[in-house]
């Protein structure tokens, strides 16, 4: 029978099917971080249970960590306590742990692929919704809750009903200045934040084929923002090139064997999807959000849509604009901003820093803008230095911080003050996401760079 890429991976991991119930799904790779794991480890202790396969779980500290002076003890006692708990739990259970200061430390979804933990055809989970990032490699990857983290620790399985399948095909060519982030924000603006709820998405077509692995990760990362459980892209030569010779990828005969399996991972020609959507890549423009959910995005040169044209409630829509202090019909171009955040598991990889640097090169950061440039990992940080990007950034008046989630969720000190506007390359613009009262505009690294230079929303294509 014809199968989709998703079916192939999911079905081969079903340990047990419960009639009228969820599937018991085997998990190949489990990533944990300090915030959603302590209660799971506590549960393990209370049940007197052990970690069944410690070698399949990987721990890193990222959500709740400072991005300056990481060599000093963490000041906030609650955060320090949470970090200590992760370290102790990892040690106790023999889980590999990349804590603060460790050379492999970084955001969980950035380091997974960097070290080859992320592989095609794998099932990957983490107590973080943007686990969908790993789908870029043809893995079935999704976020789970803390109860499920405990399940995976103690049994290497979770129980999930199989989602429906959606395919989003985009052909055509992206024009200059249009990045994978714009593609994703475009799709979410078309589907809304709940448009793919209940589905697992496969991205296909020329636009994704042409995209770098970093770009594919950005797109898959944002799948959750349209409600999808996850998103994935069939692995191809680009994928195999990327993962080859990384620390945790199979070597020699094992690589050959794995390649045999991986080369079967694509949707069969007649495979049936529950829903299929098609868009034209030629029509996508640089995007920016103007509201308080990622679906509230528009082409940067368009005006803020009218409330009456919204499918969602008018009241909710106006509440959102009110929070942003924007009005219907206004243009986003020229709007003043206060902060720029380049980073997160969405856009904190080396390619994002390269793009950002392209725009700021030879220019100066606007005086009224505070910029946080936060690499996704130490590996990214090192590449920024090795490739000479840091120099260019510093000449333009920027500083580089140390890796972590940072202002993406503002659990640490990187908080945007109430009422201030931040152009952020992260993934959520919810009320207060970047600090109580903060106002977030989601955009690509190019749009962020242009805003950092001019101090206002600017079409990056005017700065090429």
């Amino acid at each position: 029978m014809s199968k989709t890429l998703f079916d192939k991976v999911w079905d081969s991991h079903v340990v047990h099917e419960i009639t009228n119930g969820p599937d018991v799904l085997f998990i190949d790779r489990h990533m944990v971080h300090e915030v959603t794991s302590p209660v799971a480890f506590l549960g393990l202790k209370n049940r007197n249970s052990e970690v069944l396969f410690p070698e399949k779980t990987f721990a890193t500290a990222d959500h709740n960590t400072p991005t300056i002076n990481q060599h000093l003890p963490v000041k906030d006692p609650l955060s320090a306590n949470q970090l200590k708990a992760l370290e102790e739990n990892s040690k106790l259970h023999g889980i590999s742990y990349w804590g603060l200061g460790h050379e492999k430390n970084g955001i969980v979804h950035v380091v997974g692929p960097e070290y080859g933990i992320t592989q095609p055809g794998a099932t990957i989970v983490c107590g973080d919704s943007h686990t969908s990032t790993h789908g870029a490699f043809g893995a079935v990857a999704f976020g789970i809750g803390t109860s499920e983290v405990e399940m995976v620790l103690s049994t290497q399985c979770i129980m999930q009903p199989k989602p429906k399948k959606m395919r989003i095909s985009i052909n055509g060519k992206l024009s200059k200045g249009v990045t994978p982030k714009d593609v994703a924000l475009f799709i979410i603006s078309e589907l809304s934040t709940s448009g793919a709820t209940g589905y697992f998405v496969e991205y296909s077509g020329e636009v994704f084929r042409e995209m770098s692995m970093e770009g594919r990760m950005t797109v898959c990362n944002l799948s959750i923002e349209m409600g999808a459980r996850g998103g994935m892209i069939a692995p191809d030569n680009k994928t195999f090139e990327y993962i080859k010779n990384r620390e945790f990828t199979p070597k020699k005969e094992k690589w050959e064997k794995a390649m045999k399996y991986w080369s079967t991972l694509y949707s069969d020609e007649n495979a049936i999807f529950d829903k299929e959507l098609f868009f034209d890549g030629n029509n996508i423009q640089p995007m920016i959000t103007y509201g308080t959910n990622p679906g509230m995005g528009i082409s940067i040169s368009k005006g803020i849509p009218k409330a009456e044209n919204q499918d969602g409630g008018v009241k909710t829509y106006l509440k959102s604009l009110n929070y942003m202090n924007y009005n219907e019909g206004e243009s986003m171009l020229g709007k003043k901003i206060d902060f720029v955040f380049l980073g997160s598991c969405t856009n904190g990889r080396i390619e994002d820093f390269r793009e950002f640097t392209k725009i700021v090169k030879g220019r100066k950061k606007a005086c009224n803008v505070t910029a946080w440039l936060v690499p996704g990992s130490h590996k990214v940080e090192k590449a920024i230095k090795d490739e000479g990007l840091l120099k260019v950034l510093e000449q333009a008046g920027f500083e580089l911080r140390e890796p972590g989630c940072s202002a993406c969720l503002a659990m640490n000190d990187d908080k945007v003050p109430a009422g201030k506007y931040a152009v952020s390359t992260s993934n959520r613009n919810f009320e207060g996401r970047q600090g109580p009262g903060s106002r977030t505009l989601l955009a690509s690294p190019l749009v962020a760079a242009a805003a950092a230079i001019t101090g206002e929303i600017t079409d990056p294509r005017t700065l090429y």
Partner: protein, 198 residues
């Protein structure tokens, strides 16, 4: 961690008629620093309930004494955003046992079911009727019956069915969780693991 069994819940409601209520509103990230599951109810909807100086925002529904009960009513697409189970914990810890909306985000729904909060998805028409009734008369009680999978508005004499898969229903009726189930399967799982390609 065990939870209260869920059978029939008869209760007044707290109406939160906003769409796309995301998990960052339910519990903001800065309150996720605990290493134990305690005290999350205090920070449920923190930034909608309190001003920056911790004074109370009177207009927010949780601060309005007119409304109380074990059922939280929410607008469409409730619980979108992060996978933080803390959001469900905060709702449970505050005292809610059931959330009714016309649409739930996936991970949030799953988290609720895992910790003993029943997510009840009804049609938007039915949801509007509930909201109307409750706004007219805050003492309006609903009956949520997990056994028959029905929500009833007794004062109007109407009800609507809701979906839940059999397995999860059994769990909630008995207060079981998935870990019990999986623990009993460990041998099968270990056998399965031997043949996985990765």
């Amino acid at each position: 961690m065990g939870y209260e069994k869920f059978n029939i819940l008869k209760s007044t409601t707290v109406p939160l008629s906003i769409e796309n209520v995301d998990t960052d509103q339910i519990i903001p990230a800065r309150f996720l620093k605990a290493t134990e599951r305690i005290g999350f109810g205090e920070n449920l909807f923190r930034d909608w309930r309190y001003n920056a100086d911790n004074s109370i925002k009177k207009e927010f529904v949780l601060n309005n004494d007119t409304y109380n009960g074990k059922i939280l009513l929410g607008g469409k697409n409730f619980g979108s955003g992060s996978s933080r189970e803390h959001a469900a914990w905060a709702i449970y810890d505050y005292g809610f046992r059931c959330v009714i909306s016309s649409f739930f985000a996936d991970i949030f729904r799953g988290n609720c079911l895992n910790i003993g909060v029943l997510p009840v998805q009804v049609s938007s028409e039915f949801l509007n009727k509930i909201f109307e009734c409750v706004f007219k008369n805050p003492k309006t009680e609903l009956v949520v019956d997990l056994n028959t999978q029905k929500v009833n508005i007794p004062c109007l004499g109407i009800s609507e069915s809701f979906d839940i898969n059999e397995y999860k229903k059994e769990n909630m009726l008995n207060g079981y969780d998935d870990i019990d189930f999986l623990t009993n399967m460990k041998d099968t799982i270990s056998e399965f693991a031997k043949n996985t390609p990765l």
